[in-house]
Symmetry: D2
Subunit: 298 residues, 4 copies
């Protein structure tokens, strides 16, 4: 019997950090999951906890670091945490920090008091930082960004096998719920982005994903996916790899002919299941793939 | 044995309506639930369907009406549907249409082509239209509007019974997920709002809820609730009643003293369960309550 | 401006009670929500908390009562709590306790040690106890009990309007997710069921619902609903009223003719949305309806 | 720019298969997701669909195969599908079929008619079959199996760092929601299990997981995890590898001392987030790891 890959930690620590700049407050709202691995055979084989930092202590560290280091960006916060666990615990050889970030906007009120917020509920931003004592891997990303083109999408020319019944179309709705993760080129040493630069990089990547989705006259969701991913690689020099997982959120044209009505791409039924699921990685020339296929979120 | 109140229909019809104004497209995205009641004893007692309009036909009607009448506003669409079922089926005495609406924004791209959208995922807008052949009841509302004040909230002076352990506080985060329903004064005849007026009324009520939440220096969530509801009644002449259901989304100050750290209202733990739940109705003077207590969404 | 109906309390207190009978343990797993109402105008109008028992204290009471009174049945536990709040706080005129109960079974291991459990994840049992200082209302119920008949269901003879396209059928799957609430006749004074009797009453009602569903040759889901509800009223003398909410979980016959295959009621597609929703109340002769229509769970 | 790993297909096909054995019916209820990969550069780079079997056709195949082959076991059904896609489409080099299976029990009614079912809602069974034209990989598993020991669990002797505050305990509740995947030794050729043998293998593995959880006097959740996994490897010769993901569903002892009450491990608060998350792979001696770490379900 062999103990294979193993890891542990406290998942889903919901930390909210307020910064008071006089009457103007700022908010960061994160969901932080810690996962540690290393010299942990004893606890599995005999229940000896002598090398085990408790998951409760990892939770406490998240909240303490929110005070000690602040939260400028999810990625930077993850770097602080991962470094701490690997460098302070001999038995911990690798730390992986996963973060979800929820966006808040301001409620618009006159006057100097600015401490009222409304959750924007746009996409969830994600970050994953892994450190093994030598090299860093930083993945940024987003999920649940739902986009739709109401035209400029066709689908035809596909294989017709015994089980093919789908009619070809020259004009359809194309909609998807973007799940994207991208890997930064930085792996340690010089060139580390400044704490706030991670935020700007996120906004840039997000904008390129949206623009590429909107700008692509689509002959297949795969083509749109490649257009989105390659635009990020092309426009964001600090990103070497991106993986996209795009469910095809089908919008079926409602059949109104029984009621004597035309339906010239006006009325659709938004379906739940099943859905097409299109997934691919796009890499900068020369880059080695590092984003896991079929990985759980983020 | 007596058959009491009964109703039936097709729930959660996901209809998406595109309007093409040249290269500029518009989108409406609704989830429509139909519920009919009336002379329906036979089908319950004997399974005789002679008076039963099928739930499938009610679904078809939703999609057909999206074409025939368009969708200017959720409320107006509900009025078309409710009137149709009551006036076209002798056995249907009352129709209630419930609608959720999901907001989309435009993806910002240059040029005349404007057919790319991103789901905003802000709150869900709701509408409920009930018609019994004579009178109309129109409820509008919203749910999942999450708001937070990072200061200007106190809580003290409450009852101290045997089971009270909560320390008083002079500065806390106050956060809630607003679920609101408001009843329009219009019940038929003259004074019916124009189709697009329902949309403007929605935006006004939403703004007043947000502003009242932000502006209230709060001594209790009940006070904030009353401030929100009374502002809507005060500022929106077409609304006679509002009911608010406000879960207190607790943000507990993280205890950092074991680590030698202060926490001057900077680092919070966002809790899930349990949560306080504060609910109340506010009515215009002279109005009779019409919004059900403890009603399911919307 | 008038303050209408209002209520407050701590929702979703997740209390687990273990009873140790030597090496044999017993478990009760509840989700308890407290809602209080009464003389609460001040806190809404001015933020004065002098009459407010904190929601935190109501939470503490739930956990303390789990120790002091034990949890024999959800209904009895709710009675203890509701009585306490109304009789101990002058400002509280009515208390409503809602409970969800999750079932656990034993993991079958030999020997005297019996302290290992597996969550059964069958339906969720519900209870709601309301006390206004004089009268009691006890609603029991269940939700998410999913049942299916693979035959003995027909659907035909219905209205054919302009929007009707559904073909009639003489053999279909009938499936639903039962949400039921029933009202006990007891309202106070003598005749109060013993604590454990509520559990037996629950199991009896559940069995009658299942048996009636299975035994009914169905011409409509309304007929099946009435058969289920009337059987409970008929067979359970302590129950005066029942309300059922039955989504029609559609199973559509897959069309295999394009592939040269028959489908003699063998292969179905289980749909999510939209779904028919059939709701009705059945009452004992002479009983007044007391279960809210359109009420939120439970 | 390089197109890296990519795959596509129809996800979440909800197929229900009824078998009529006279008046006795049998039911299989699956959620099937198809994912294909191979020579798919063209569709990404240019939108040319000439090598693309539509996701719609993969959906049709699922329903057609439910008729043509029946569904004896999830694994066998996945084998039929994976073989078909790889052998019938030149461009498809690898097929991966993921299946969730939902368990139904019979509603107990007298007489020969046995066509009434109640969904058991116990854990979800999972299967994943991958075929690349030469080798097979079959993963079976389960998720959402919630188990609890009310005693025989201790936790102490762990690292005490600056952020450690957790008190040691000699008696706690240990509860988890088991997510397990195990890899069968069979990879093709002789030794392929008979279709129904997959079902027996599933029930055996499930029983060993439950028994090991119940039988282990636990000093840490890691120890319990290893005990569960190693028992499956030890007792099930056809299984070479198992990966377990065990969230620690914390049950915190309610502090009743402010109310003058003891709490001798009787009353607990069941927490939601954060939670410990313990994950590990256990392998038979000589086996190579094949189950992805951090894989999405199943």
């Amino acid at each position: 019997m062999i103990l294979g890959q193993n890891q542990y930690g406290k998942a889903e620590n919901r930390v909210v950090r307020i910064v008071r700049d006089g009457a103007t407050h700022h908010i960061k709202d994160l969901n932080v999951s810690v996962s540690l691995s290393g010299d942990m055979a004893d606890v599995h084989l005999s229940g000896c906890n002598a090398k085990v930092l408790t998951t409760d202590a990892t939770k406490n560290t998240v909240f303490a670091f929110a005070k000690e280091h602040g939260i400028v960006s999810a990625e930077q916060f993850g770097i602080h945490l991962a470094r701490h666990f690997v460098t302070s615990q001999d038995a911990v050889h690798t730390a992986r920090i996963r973060i979800e970030e929820y966006a808040w906007g301001r409620i618009d009120v006159p006057g100097p008091k600015q401490h009222s917020f409304v959750r924007e509920n746009r996409e969830t931003r994600t970050a994953q930082v892994t450190f093994d004592g030598e090299r860093w891997q930083v993945l940024s990303g987003l999920k649940d960004l739902v986009v739709l083109n109401s035209t400029d999408s066709e689908f035809h020319g596909y294989v017709k096998d015994r089980y093919t019944t789908l009619p070809e179309t020259r004009d359809r709705i194309l909609a998807t719920q973007v799940h994207a993760r991208w890997r930064h080129a930085w792996t340690g040493g010089s060139g580390q982005p400044q704490p706030a630069e991670w935020n700007r990089a996120y906004e840039r990547a997000r904008e390129h994903l949206l623009t590429a989705f909107a700008d692509t006259y689509s002959l297949s969701l795969q083509q749109t996916l490649y257009s989105m991913g390659s635009r990020v690689i092309d426009q964001c020099p600090g990103i070497d790899e991106i993986r996209l997982s795009l469910p095809n959120k089908h919008h079926f044209l409602a059949d109104l002919t029984p009621f004597g009505l035309d339906n010239d791409n006006e009325v659709y039924y938004a379906a739940d299941r099943p859905y097409g699921l299109i997934e691919a990685t796009i890499l900068r020339d020369g880059a080695e793939p590092g984003i896991p296929v079929d990985a759980a979120n983020p």
